[in-house]
């Protein structure tokens, strides 16, 4: 076994020399997980906000369920999506199994509850703060959802990042529905799993370090955007 230092510098060399194969894997990871997180946000944020303001029987139970789904095991999600997309499954005709789209679907299922639950938390606090104002304006509870979401947008970026982080880091679901097919559905995490099973532990660890670096970079980028937005907001206020 080569030492970690050797493997790590090998991995760095691959990155900085622009190794096409490695870059394609990194790019696919980003594409799949960013898209999954965006779709999950489009679904989860309105759901979370609606749950925060609406009052109906069973609301409490729904919130408990949603919070519990944050811990949905990825491998179970993978299995469920596999059974749906298999040629023998109800959506088999779509021929989506073993494609990046299948991985996006699995990650959306995984991430939507996380974003919805975090949104519910943020919006509920905000709604209490604004309650009197909204009532005096005669805005109904559900009609206030877009306003509340817009005002909570900076806090909601954190919810989005939590979803993205979960999506890009998970391996159990994408390896089942994606199949870890070289040049088609192989992403960072499934590559790490493959290299580990080949006994290339140091290379796997080096790839993991790259994955962490990417996560840090994405978070830093969004944080910069947020900070700039906050400053602009102050200037306009």
């Amino acid at each position: 076994m080569r030492s970690f230092a050797e493997e790590f510098s090998f991995a760095l060399t691959l990155i900085f020399q622009g190794d096409a194969e490695l870059w394609a894997i990194v790019l696919l990871s980003l594409q799949v997980s960013i898209f999954a997180a965006l779709i999950a946000a489009a679904l989860g944020m309105p759901i979370g906000a609606a749950l925060a303001v609406a009052r109906f029987p069973g609301r409490r139970a729904l919130i408990v369920l949603m919070n519990a789904l944050m811990g949905f095991p990825p491998v179970v999600v993978g299995l469920l999506v596999y059974l749906m997309l298999s040629r023998s499954g109800p959506l088999g005709v779509l021929d989506l199994l073993y494609t990046p789209m299948a991985m996006i679907i699995a990650q959306v299922v995984l991430v939507t509850p996380i974003i919805a639950a975090l949104t519910r938390q943020v919006v509920e606090t905000l709604a209490e703060e604004y309650a009197e104002q909204l009532r005096s304006l005669g805005v109904s509870r559900l009609a206030s959802v877009p306003v509340l979401l817009w005002d909570a947008r900076l806090a909601l970026i954190t919810a989005f990042l939590a979803g993205f982080g979960r999506a890009i880091a998970e391996v159990g679901a994408v390896i089942i529905v994606g199949g870890n097919i070289n040049h088609v559905t192989r992403v960072m995490t499934t590559t790490i799993a493959l290299e580990t099973s080949k006994g290339n532990l140091a290379l796997a660890l080096a790839l993991g370090t790259i994955l962490i670096a990417i996560a840090v970079a994405v978070n830093a980028m969004v944080s910069t955007l947020t900070l700039r937005a906050e400053k602009e907001g102050l200037r306009h206020a």
């Binding site: 023998s88 073993y98 097919i181 006994g199």
Partner: protein
Amino acid sequence: MIRSYFSAALMVLGLWAAPASAEEPFIIVQSTTSTQNSGLLDYILPGFEAESGIDVRVVAVGTGQAIRNAINGDGDVLLVHARPAEEQFVADGWGVERQDVMYNDFVLVGPAADPAGVRGEADILAAFSAISEAQAPFASRGDDSGTHKAELGHWGAAGIDPSTASGTWYRETGSGMGATLNVASGMDAYALTDRATWLSFGNRGTLEILVEGDPRLFNQYGVILVNPDKHPAVRATAGQRFIDWLTGPDGQAAIASYKLDGEQLFFPNAK
């Protein structure tokens, strides 16, 4: 502010556009971890892809899971190594025809200290009996793979039921060959592995080959086209073309020429 959101959205869309390149014809091959982990498929497939223009997409799982996926119709070609299960698959109508492709062999690896004293043993059943008597740690695949089926066959032939020792000296990892070798390496356990995975495995620790050469350790690989009568979506023409190539002179020569550290890993034997 709005413009920065807009440009971020454009960037994401740009990311998305990249993989939507022209769709080329492809087939999905359900295969085993040994053919992938050993590097064989990465080595031989570009030759076929260049010649045929057909992209071969390999899903590498255990033989048991590969067969179940194929029964569900989630693959066009099955390339695995568990002859009885393969013949059952064809007999049940899920596959068209089974053909031999290549073989290699299983080896028993274990810690250099060899607590069961099986080093150099010519009889695999005697070696299994010795491990059981010594209650020396043994890492089993435990995942219904071809290797797992072969291992269970040897225990059965030796008259031992290892499931009674499950969790003590007999440890079922429930994972792939490489992952199981990682476990064996970590706990100085014995393990049955195909030679190809062993030769390409990078984390051996103190493990080494202790028993090899018993004819019972023969490991035959077969290829089967998934039956398009059962699953009309099967890409039968492209799949058959791949099978013809694999069992024909070009594919067989490619298999024979794959070497790791000068050692041939698979031996073509299509008829």
